[in-house]
Structure formats: structure tokens, C-alpha cells
Amino acid sequence: MKKKNRFVVLKNGNHWLAVSGAMLAVAAVGVSKAQAHGFEGDYFFPPTIATDDPFATDELLLPSVSYLKSDGVTTTDTGFEFDKEIFPKFALGISGDYLYQKPDGQPSVSGWSDFAMSAKYQLWENAPHQAIFSVGAIWQIGGSGSKEVGASSANVFTPTIYYGKAFGDLPDTLSYARPFAITGTLGEDLPTSFEPNNLQWGFALEYSLPYLQTEVKDIGLPQPFSRMFPLVEFSFTSPENRDGGPTTGTINPGVLYESTYFQIGAEAIIPANRESGSHVGAVVQLEIFIDDILPKIFGHPLFFGK
């Protein structure tokens, strides 16, 4: 699940450590909503890492591991996410991150950050044009995580819109651009405390080599390349009030590999500006296609399913 930037304070023995919100947000990008199989028309939208995608389907992300150093603190974030389609096109989810934080010259701290629950509904779809629009909300459960790692006691609700568009409907003169797709999100943090309201926004631009090979032109790509999606993701938090500071975020270039029963992805985490940090990190994510592994249990709604 997409996490948000916030300024947190860590306690380590008798020492209080200030950790920038950008570091935590960047460390948390390893956990993102991703889905087992999101199709619009002929186009398969793969689960993305740093940004959420617009599909409400069964999925299991386990694990996502990110590594980043910022402001003298090295953070390893190990996360998970599970989503289940409850009614057709409506899914609920839960996610969490276990943080291990090692400040320079000081003992480490570790613990769970606040857990989050989500709801999402696929509001509109156009399969011939490979487009989708969804709405949803995320509830970051205040007090559910460990104060040792700066988990907040405040609840944060984030209503969010999601969109996706692939370009398989481009004319023949632009056929090599048909494997491109873009997905994105736009959400508004509504905390129950005096923390800033934040605009959470981002998008992913991807190129489907499987789509190129099987829908546009077989250029003879061997495996594993024929199953890869090069992509770049942009993920930002823009505080709107209460001296929340400037916009922070990351730019994540990487690649996704689709196997039969899982997807593995890897991205670099590049701070977008000085306020977002000064070190490049990395994230690796394993998405398990539970609808393929256990088709009798997953891959269809819990109620009113096929």
C-alpha cells in the first residue's frame, strides 16, 4: 500500500532521533498495492511497486523489501499486502511494514509501522481502449504500529482515485508505442490529528515486452526478456498546510518480470529533490499470483462471484 510522508521521532534508549518524513516514505515504497491479474482488453497491467494500480482483485504481495539511507539512518523495510475481491470489482485489503532502522553510531530500532486497510472499486472500464478508472480509500490505523519506529497514534484517511490507460488503440503508424501504459493515483490525506493534509500522487509509465511480442511484432526476444516490463514510477507527497514542508518523493526506474505464478520486480529509489534525501536506495518485490495457484479460492469475488 502506498505510504505517506510524515515527520517522525524515534526513541532509542535515552536518545531521541529525528528522522525525516521523506526517509520513511521512501523506505515504505516497497509495499504497494498490486494485483494478481489486471486486464483491460488485451492488455495485462502488471502490479507496480511504488504506486498503486487501479484493479480490485485478489493479490498477495509477500514480501517487499526496500533499503535506503537518509539523514544518517539506514532503513530496511519488509512489507506485505493482501487484497481480496469481496463483491465484483470491489476489494478490501490490509498491509503492513516491518522496519529495521540503524542510525549511524547508535543502536538499531525495529518494529511494525502502522498497519493500513484499503477499499477499492473499479468504477469505469473500457476494454477496447484499455482504460480503467477506480475509486477507493486507505485507512492508516493510528496506534497499530510501534512507537519505536515512529508509528503514529493518529488515524489517517486517504480517499483516492486510480486510473490506468494502455495504448493498444494507437494507429498502425505508432504500433511500437502500443505496448506503453500509464497508471496513476491521486489521494488526499485526512489525518485525525494536527498533522498536515497531504496530496498523495504518482504514476507509473511502463512498456510491455510481452505485449510487443504477442500483439505488435515478434522481434525474437528470448526469455526472460520477453516477459519483462521496463518501467519508471514517480511517487510524491505534497503537504498542503500546517507547515508540512515542500513536496517530497522519489523516481523509481526498474523492471518487472512475469513468471507463471509470480512476479518479481526491482527498482532503484532515487530521491526527487534535496528534501527527499541524498542517497539512492533499492526495492525488490515478490507478487504471488494466488488466483493461479489456488483458483478455487482466489480469482473471483467472495460474494456474487462467477
Binding site: 491479474h37 519488509t78 516491518y98 538499531s108 504500433s175 504477442t214 505488435v216 505464478y261 493461479d292
Partner: protein, 122 residues
Amino acid sequence: MKNIPFKRLGLVAVLFLALQSHAWAHAFLDHADPKVGSIVTGSPAVVKAWFTQELEPAFSSLQVTDAQGREVDKKDMHLDDKDKKLMIVSLPPLTAGTYTVNWQAVSVDTHRTQGHFEFTVK
């Protein structure tokens, strides 16, 4: 670092790997003959489409249409006797032009996928 999360992750990984031997999956197009987006000299006798999973023939389809959208294949789609991942449909002699292959694949676990590609006869 506390290793509790990683122990649990290890158990999940073992379970995941164990389940793979009994799992099914979506059937994606792997490759075709004529090749996707190819230009062929002479009219092919059949279109072959290889998929990543075994298919349910009753619910899968393979059609070839011309530039005007008219179906031109012989409507005899079938799976290869020895390879249930291979769909075949026969063609009459085709005139020069661009043809579209439309496919729907239902794997043995009932997952459905679809797609299309073109080839050109010169």
C-alpha cells in the same frame, strides 16, 4: 535485526513452492506461426498459436479475419493431438493483404485471456 518476519516469510516461500506443482495459471500467447506482425510470402495453410498453459478447446477460439473484418479461416479450430497448448486453424488460399488473428484462450483452470495480432501476405 529480529529474524521473526523472515522465518515466517521462509515458511510462506516453502508453501508457495510446494503449491506450484499443483497449480494452474492464465494461458498467455507464447508465439505463433505466422509470426506476430510478420510478412509472409505465399499463403499459409494454417495458423498456429502456442500458449503458456494447456487449453480447454470447448471454450477457446482462434479466428482469422481480413482487412474488412470478414472471417476467412475454415472454422476448424482444434488443439494439437500431442500438445494441448497449441491451437490450430486451417486457412484457404489467401490473397495479398493484412489479416488479423483473434484468439481467446481458456486454460484448464478456467482462466480466460484474449488477444489479437496481424500478419501480412504478400
